[in-house]
Symmetry: C5
Subunit: 101 residues, 5 copies
């Protein structure tokens, strides 16, 4: 339930077994007006998102639904959409920062 | 469980299939005393809210109930009311910033 | 699971139907040492709280239990107690700011 | 899932009935490096914690399990342990601030 | 659903009985660009993480799944992976701060 930008990927060999085969991306939440936060979220990619793309991240049951491996899984956040753009009061925010008007 | 102002809309073509047909709005949480936050929430519009209007946003099971497509859905936040106004200690906060006293 | 002060009420005509008849109050979380936050929470009043009173706010299943209309409801925060006072290391914090020692 | 210090107690006569008999403590989250937050959490004491003691606070289903009155209860945070100490990179943080090295 | 660094361990003798035998680690969330937060999370170690290692922390049902003692347990956060590294826009962030490029 937030928009963020994919800023990277996490690699992990030692992990809980239900995380096997999941692509884990690092997402930086979007802030209005060009502000930047240092916080990040790690979310399972369910949609084929790339670094730099703006995405929608959800949590909990919604994330488990999107991951599609049932509810007995050791992760609870997921990327469920790649954002084409946002219309913010007449200002167009694009799929990546390069597309912003 | 928070009041915020609708500041825009999110467009997404590549998305988890249960998001099809949902209108996704960007909401900026309301702060007391005229302060502004750069944070935003994306929530499914279930009520016909417009940009600039103050709305109530809920999460989790409450949001899924409002969306009305069951609990197997990849989203967990929703707009469930358009605020007519808030009475804050005698000060009237309106449906939009233009209506504030 | 937090203490806050009721700072106002929210009015909404256009709302999800399960919100009908609920009294929605605006609560400002309590901070130690006289600090003030601009953040607010909207919570269903289940106890008859008044503006200026300090209250306990809960979320999720606990809130739905307190609201008492079942779990198929589009809200997930509730006021479950009016605070008589808090004993903070010998300092008495009252039911309202006027009662603080 | 956080460590905090018990800084006081909450008294409430007007409260949702399932809160009867619960001891509600005010907890200030622990921050690294001696920083202090003004935020507080209210949690049900399930372990016999005293003011000044560092404790573990949990939320949601975990808290309801610890409270032990079933899931139909109007509270969702609980103190589940009194911390003997924390080993933070060679630095010992004690049960209370007086025990810190 | 966040990356953090294990900064220590919590010891507790007086605790809710379902916490018996669990190793509780203190995790400091990772921030972009070398920023540091004073906030910490306590999470059950399910993977054999060491102090200084970067790890993935999850909450709620995902954490209970990883802990593997069923859902009637008084904790709701867990370490589910030790991070080999993160690829952040060409910059490599390592398993520990010593491995960062």
């Amino acid at each position: 339930m937030l928009v963020g930008t994919v800023v990277g990927q996490v690699w992990a060999t030692r992990k809980e077994e239900t995380l096997g085969g999941l692509r884990l991306l690092v997402v930086q939440p979007y802030l209005l007006g060009g502000a930047e936060t240092a916080e990040t979220i790690v979310a399972v990619d369910t949609i084929g998102a790339d670094t730099g793309e703006r995405v929608l991240v959800v949590y909990g049951r919604a994330a488990r639904h999107a991951i599609g491996k049932g509810h007995d899984i050791a992760f609870q956040s997921a990327i469920v959409a790649v954002v084409d753009g946002m219309d913010l009061g007449g200002r167009r925010v694009g799929q990546t920062a390069h597309d912003d008007e």
